[in-house]
Each structure stands twice: as C-alpha cells, then as structure tokens.
Amino acid sequence: MTDGARPAADPALRSFARHRLALLGLAVIAALAAFCFLGPLVYHTDQVHANIRLTNLPPGSGRPLGTDDNGYDILGRLMIGGQATLEICFAVAGLATAFGVVWGAVSGYTGGLADAIMMRVVDIALAIPAIFVLIYLASVFRPTIALLILVLSLLSWLGPARLVRGEVLSLRTREFIQAVTMMGGRRLRVVVRHLIPNTLGTIVVNATFQVADAAILLATLSFLGFGLPPPAATWGGMLSQGTTYLLDGYWWEVYPAGFVIMLTVVAFNLVGDGIAGSLDARLRPA
C-alpha cells in the first residue's frame, strides 16, 4: 500500500481480524513455530545417535509419542524435522515470491518483445511438471537444505510471475502511473515504488499459498526418497519412513507426522484465504 492508501488499509485489517478461521490459522502457525524452535529448549532428546535398544517403542512415560525405527524420540524428532520443514518452506515462499514478483512486474511493465520472451520462458517452465524436474535434480545431486530451497524456488516463482504480470498490465494504464511517468519518474521507480506496492495484496496471498504448496512438494519429495538424508529430518521424511511400518501397527510413527503436515498446509491456506477475503471488498463479510 502507498502512504496515501493508509486509511483504506484499516477496514481490510479489521475485516481480517473478524475472519475467525484466518486468525485460527495464524495461531496454529505461531504454535507450530514455537513447538519446533522453542520446544527443543524444554524437551531434550538425542536426535543424532541411533539407539537400537529403543527402536519402535510405543508411546509411554518419558516418550509421549514413542520412538521410530532408529530409536529416535518421535516428539523430539517432530520438533527438529519441523525446523527444517518450516525453514525450507518459508525460504522457498520468500525467494520464489521475490523473484516472481520482479520478473512479472518487469515483464508486464516493459511489454513488447521482452514481455513475450519472458512469458514464454514461464510457459516453458510451467509445461514440465515440477515433480519430474525435482526428482531428476534430486537424483543427480545430493539433497541439502540449500539445494532443496533453491530447486523448490526455481519451480515455484512461475505462479507469482504470471499473477503480478497480469496485475501490472492493468495497473500500467491507470492515471497515477501515467502521472508518475509524466512527472519524469524513472522506470525503476515506477516499478519499485508504485507497481509492486499496488500488487502487494495479491503477492501476500500468493506467498502464503506458496508456503503450503512447498510443504506438500517437500513432503512428496521426501516420500519418494529424495529428501534430506539422515540424521537430518523433515516431517515428510518421517511420514514416509513411518508408512513402511503401517502394517505392523506402529501408528505413532505415521499419524503424528501426517497430522502436522496437514495442519501446516491447512493453516497457511486459511490465512491466505483470510487475507484474500479482507483485501477484496466483494468477499468481505458484512
């Protein structure tokens, strides 16, 4: 929002505050982050050394959620797995959104041949389903947190790029943009100070959905065996490891990890829907 639009932002904020599901989503995200990052300070477990005397134990005293097939405490592992998962998802959403926004804004504002070329690049990248490229790259390189962030971002900036370009195309012809150009504002200033701030609503909504999508992609990748190698953990990796014991009835190795993944994705989708609803006057609850 530009400074002049300040009063207009308030109804949106108030509307968001009245959006109970979105607030719930926000609370869930805060709780999950606290659980993952503050939890290990209170609840100490060894998540590096495997202990074969403690494998596959059901929940009991001292191990509220039991242990997995390496003897790791599941509750503690959910915390450190959550750290990696949340870090990767947030980083991906941030990087992909930033890059996509700049790409889309430049493409839409410049127009002409540059726009045509930049958008064909997006079309080409969109034509190859992300999972295929992910599997390929993960099979060629050894996955690390940095690599996963980079690769997931490379595949996620396309959505924001398209969205922002669409918005910029319609904003470009509006009077206030033309006024800036006429007053001698340079192109960079138009894009950075006027076009991008005015698409902020779309961008923020999309970024929250990006986090949710990244969580699902990451979990899928881990399930297929291309996630972070042990002793590092992600929720997806825990879930996929746990599913091998489904027939043995070791439910504690399966359901908690599946639950936190779903919880994260639902929470971010709720927040995204809430922001979208409060920014769009037509969808605002009366």
Binding site: R120, I124, I131, F132, Y136, S139, T220, L246, I261, M262
Partner: protein, 303 residues
Amino acid sequence: MIVVLGVTAVTFILEHLIPGSLARAILGTRASGAEIAAFNRANGLDHPLIEQYLAFLGRLARGDLGYSYRLNQSVDSLVVHQLPNDVVIVGTALVLALAIAIPLGLAQAVHRNRAVDHAATSAAFALYSMPSYWLAILLISGLSIAVHALPPEAPQAAAVGGLLADPLALVLPVLTLTLVNVALFSRYMRSAAIATLAEDYVRVARAKGLPTRLVLSRHVVRNSLISVTTLVGLSFPAVLTSGLIVEYVFNIQGVGLTYYTAAVNADYPVELGITVLVGTVTVLGNLLADIAYAVLDPRVRYD
C-alpha cells in the same frame, strides 16, 4: 510449438547438468579415458553442443525419445507399453472427478454459506491439504488393512487388458486420484459459479420466469465452465504429478513409475525422454482447453 521447443531445450540442458558426464554416469566410475572417448564418439557427444542439440531435436522429430542403457531398451518401447495404463487410470479419474466436481461446485454456489457448502468446502480443504501419497496411504490403511474390502495394490499385469481384468484392484488408485482432483476442481467450479450467479443475464433469466433448473443448466453451468476449463487445463501438471505418486504407491506399471525407477537407477535417457513426453502432454492439455473454449463460448473463434 515454441513451448514444446523450449521443453526440449530445458531437457537438453538438464542432460548436460549431470556431474562428470553422461558417459561417466553410464559406463561407471571405473571406465578408462579411452572407453569414455569411444562412447562419446559413438554417441556424437564429442560434437559442439549446438550440433548435439540439433541432432537431439532430429531424433525427437522422428519420434525417438532415447535409449535406456540400463534396460537395454528404447524409451519408445517402454512408453508404448505403459502409456495405455496411465490413460486408463488417470483418464478415468479425471472424468469421474469432473463428473462429481461440477455438480458439487454448482450445488455449493447455489447453497452458498449453508451447511452443505461448509461441509463440502471443509472436505475439499482437508483433501487439498494432504500430500496425495498420504491420502493413498490413509485409504489403504482404512479400506485394505482395517477392513479387507479392497486390494492394496493395483493389478500387476503389464498390459492394459490385464489391468481391466481386475477392476476391484483399480478402485483404490482411481479413488485416490479422483478425490484429489475433485477437491481441486470443485473449488474452481464453486467460485466460478458464484461469480456467474451474480451476472445480470442470470437475473434476467430469473426475472422472465425461467425455472431455476433451466437457469442453472442453460446459463450458469455453461458460463462457469469457461473459466473452469482454463483452470483444469492449467492443472494438468498437477494431475500428472498425482498420477506419478499413485503409480508409485499402488505399483502401477505406468510412465510415472518408470520415471521414478529411472531416477533411482540414474537412467538419465529414460528420465529425459519422459520429461519431453510429459511436457508435450501438458502443452497438448492446454491446447485441448483452448479448443474446449471455442466449443463452450461462441464468442471465441480461432481463425
């Protein structure tokens, strides 16, 4: 067309991203320099990159997707055997999903913010928030392990005839894919129908006394389908992705599973051949969506 060409370029770049070289990856770490040089010469890998790319395009134009050194089989012959399996499973799921999602989304839009809508939205939300393999596993643990109602594995026949001979085993994979897609498509249909219901022509149709059933079938459905078609066309990569997951979970002999196996075995030619194929299918899907536009909307004409 440009997009397909771009997909081939990306694939070509991916092939050359392999650390070391293709020859090293295929012949193994103990191959001698002379053997590598001989392999490169035999496969034209000693030519300049641009020449290699043109040769690659030439082979693709003749329908040659590459050759698997691990399986000693051409990628074409692999794909020809497996594609029908994918078409049956993914196709059935897609048709079922549309058949459920369109009426469901419409009903939700008509009864917006009532119990039906809330229930369906929550269900779609939950499904939408699950990785598709997690849904598949939940279905297996519920319907095959807890209740022995359905087999946990797809029919293991390699040919499509054998697949159809065991319809009971097809239920779970098709159900998984259908549910995933219903969640996606009913969301699209609901918002499209809500937008259409607010249009003036719908009010006019109501005002002139047209029964609700006819207003919905003649005006709302067709107009909402226009935007749904685009979204369905765009969700083709997502559909193929869940296809791969379902093939992996239920062990279906399809292109997705072959891709996965190739990735595990570092069988790069198979991976790249299938990537080109999948990219082309996606582009075709978008093209189909464009054609469907012209059918649905008389204002759209392609000259």
